[in-house]
Symmetry: C2
Subunit: 171 residues, 2 copies
DNA sequence: TCATACAGTTCTAAAATTGAACTGTCAAAT
DNA sequence: ATTTGACAGTTCAATTTTAGAACTGTATGA
């Protein structure tokens, strides 16, 4: 599977991954949300090679996640600013941070705290159902094909139904 | 930056990316949430090379995201099951899907609908503040260093304060 | 005996990433 | 007038990853 094929998969997650699903891109986006806007800023904050940084920024601009805006003439200089499409990545960023806060902190605790302007408190992000407002648990969600689903015949096979025949003892 | 260094960064997002931040790993996890459990199941659903699949599964097991459980003796066969740590990735998956649903669908509409058992409706995931329950907007969140932050002197520089000196006209 | 299911491992070729140097414009300092 | 430094890239060889295909080995059923 080539990476531009990802964007044509009938799967919203695959398409998202096609746009932001690599390590450097995610780190670049972290910096965007931390208000970094310029080439040198990204480069020195991340230690990414200039080559890759240039390429990733181009891709994010092409995808409409960042906008390249001139801030100075001669020599022409540009800032990279999140578009609305980019700002909409915020829940993904927060979800990543929260999982790290939950499962990857050391004895010292969280590297970063988040404060909600509206209520003034440090918070964790919680994902809830848009319809009833209850927190979402994987077990309580059922998926079914939507209008953009691939026809059943095209669908990729999953595990066989485990037709148990006579196998020597499952453990 | 090497990839195991990522996990030692004082940043929860970087650490999370160190565990799940590559394209195949994310797709493997999608399959896990869609109930795929076995090597062949992942391989045929994703078209990933067997080599990479084996490696990624090993890493996810090492990281405690998946557990490798025997389901058959001779030949020994195992299933890969999400641990609680793995199940906790659900908000990340849903956030990825939701962004794709919002920004990457074609005319045909969403490939997959999600139904919440509790309320019976198809829903979108919404990220809210754990303290006040309001939806989170990037603009309304302030970050500040937590106990696990790197000492200020070690901190990486961001853009210069744009000391405007006398430059020829910003556009 | 032969074909098939399953879960890998091994190998080479192709692609992506790293690291370092280089380009070019302009401002400020010497 | 010349040098230095900031900035935003581009170029290129060397290394690392990934892709693609074949191979290993146990066991079942035909």
């Amino acid at each position: 599977m080539k990476w531009d094929e990802l964007e044509e998969e009938p799967c919203s997650m695959a398409r998202t991954i096609g746009v932001i699903g690599d390590r450097w891109t995610l780190l670049i986006l972290r910096e965007c949300f931390l208000r970094t806007r310029r080439f040198e800023g990204f480069q020195s904050a991340l230690g990414i090679t200039r080559h890759l940084l240039a390429e990733r920024l181009k891709k994010l601009v092409r995808q409409g996640v960042l906008r390249r805006i001139p801030y100075q003439e001669s020599p022409k200089r540009h800032e990279y600013i999140l578009t609305q499409k980019g700002l909409d990545l915020y829940p993904i960023m927060m979800a990543l941070v929260h999982w790290g806060d939950t499962h990857m902190v050391d004895e010292r605790g969280r590297p970063l705290l988040h404060q909600h302007r509206k209520c003034g408190k440090n918070f964790d992000p919680v994902m809830v159902c848009s319809e009833c407002g209850e927190p979402l648990l994987a077990k309580e969600v059922h998926t079914h094909p939507g209008p953009g689903a691939r026809a059943p015949s095209e669908r990729i096979s999953r595990d066989k139904p485990a037709k148990p025949k006579t196998r020597k003892q499952a453990a």
